[in-house]
């Protein structure tokens, strides 16, 4: 019974914390847009905000709830578990199962569609990308989680110049460095209503960050803009798998406008200085060390309240 109670209480804490943190993020993430940071830093912050409820609730459950129950709950006394932890425990298990299902579904659908593209079309593997001769293949897209590869349709090769192709590949390389496909899959594990706007904002910023990373001169920017417009005309009207990053996504108009203003948009915004996250981590660690024992006691009191 002790173990059952411990699991029920831990899951209850987890689900309550997750809902509270998620609600805070849904209500407050718009404020992050006011920070004057460059697109890469903004995208990183939005992604962190999106997964923070899951990270924080798992961390707090493991760091406080489980140890407080293990250390402070008397094992000899048989207590009945109340309805609240049982109900929340079941809700948490349903939530975790549905999150796992979403991840498996997204990944298997993506894998199936990519396999279709690669199996039925003619394939030509080159050093930096794979050419696929199928009409329904997106013009330029990044597929795969562990070993991402750039998939290019043969029509793309026909319409892009050498420079445009090179810059477009650099754009996809930036997505590979940021592990954006993996991030998209991680988002599937953190479902919560009202997060879609935050996810769209992140995806948009990730595109702009990849544009910035690909471009190092005004000529590059014009080439990338030209590639975007040319490939926009080729995009098939169909659903694209979740765990892929297409070259033509987000607002093409906004991206082209930014690229044509290259140089002016870059000057205004800065990156997050490294000392800020480091000092925040150190500060949190110090607070944790200092307040750990009292925090365990408080957590146990809340646990007792929940169990009864």
């Amino acid at each position: 019974m002790f173990a059952v109670r411990e699991i029920a209480v831990s899951l209850t804490f987890f689900v309550l914390l997750y809902c509270c943190f998620s609600l805070m993020v849904v209500l407050g993430w718009h404020r992050l847009k006011t920070l004057r940071l460059n697109e890469k830093s903004s995208a990183d912050i939005l992604f962190l905000a999106r997964i923070l409820p899951m990270l924080a609730s798992v961390a707090m459950t493991c760091a406080f709830v489980v140890p407080s129950f293990q250390l402070l709950e008397p094992r000899g006394i048989e207590e009945e578990t109340g309805m609240l932890p049982v109900a929340f425990g079941i809700a948490a298990m349903v939530f975790i199962a549905s999150a796992c299902y979403r991840v498996i579904k997204a990944q298997s659908r993506t894998a199936r569609m990519v396999a279709q593209w690669l199996e039925r079309g003619q394939i030509e593997r080159r050093a930096a990308y794979t050419v696929c001769s199928r009409n329904d293949v997106p013009p330029l897209t990044l597929v795969g989680l562990c070993k991402p590869q750039v998939l290019v349709s043969d029509r793309t090769l026909g319409i892009l110049t050498g420079n445009e192709m090179e810059i477009a590949l650099r754009h996809e390389q930036a997505h590979i460095s940021s592990r954006d496909n993996l991030k998209k899959l991680i988002l599937q594990f953190c479902p919560f209503p009202g997060m879609s706007q935050l996810e769209m904002a992140w995806a948009e910023l990730a595109e702009l960050a990849a544009d910035d990373a690909a471009v190092s001169s005004a000529d590059d920017a014009v080439d990338l803009a030209a590639a975007l417009v040319k490939l926009s005309r080729l995009v098939p009207v169909r659903v694209v798998p979740i765990c892929t990053v297409g070259f033509v996504t987000g607002s093409v108009g906004l991206r082209v406008a930014r690229l044509l203003e290259w140089g002016k948009t870059r000057e205004n915004r800065s990156r997050i200085p490294r000392w800020i996250p480091i000092s925040m981590l150190v500060g949190t660690a110090i607070i944790l060390v200092v307040t750990y024992s009292p925090a365990l006691v408080v957590t146990h009191e809340i646990t007792e309240f929940l169990v009864r």
């Binding site: 030209a226 926009s232 108009g253 082209v256 044509l260």
Partner: protein, 151 residues
């Protein structure tokens, strides 16, 4: 905006007449206003009572909030222009999709319209890119010319 509202209309959201739309836009532009302030601007030719009853109708339709100020009411928009526009668009698209016997037919009109709009936008963007290319080329040529003059 007016076009979007009048073409798409509302069903879950209230339907608006032209004068109601005009007043709503005035209040959006000002942030908040009393009936007297709306008339003082001089753009409305209607009588005080007409404006008052129309604003009251907008309040009853849930589009405005009001608070007492002296012997009159001060009206504030309850929804933003963007929210109303979004609702109108969603409602219009929903009605469009329900208008045919099969949903795929109106959906195909929508895709056609969006594709045509997209093609126009892409043409405009293409023009901008070409202009920028020419601009960059002429700049680099003039720079080269200056360099050769110095030599």
């Amino acid at each position: 905006m007016k076009k979007a509202l009048s073409i798409l209309g509302f069903s879950s959201s209230p339907r608006l007449g032209p004068f109601e739309q005009q007043l709503l836009e005035e209040i959006w532009a000002r942030g908040n206003a009393t009936v007297r302030e709306l008339l003082a601007k001089g753009t409305l030719s209607q009588a005080y009572t007409t404006v008052m009853t129309t604003v009251d109708r907008l309040y009853k339709k849930g589009l405005l909030d009001r608070e007492v100020e002296g012997r009159a009411f001060r009206y504030k928009p309850r929804v933003s222009q963007a929210e109303l526009q979004r609702n109108a668009a969603v409602e219009g698209i929903r009605r469009l999709l329900q208008s045919g016997e099969t949903s795929s037919l109106p959906l195909s009109y929508l895709v056609e319209a969006v594709s045509a709009h997209d093609a126009e936008l892409l043409d405009e963007l293409q023009d901008l890119i070409e202009r920028k290319r020419r601009e960059l080329k002429s700049k680099s040529e003039s720079r080269q010319g200056k360099g050769e003059e110095r030599r």
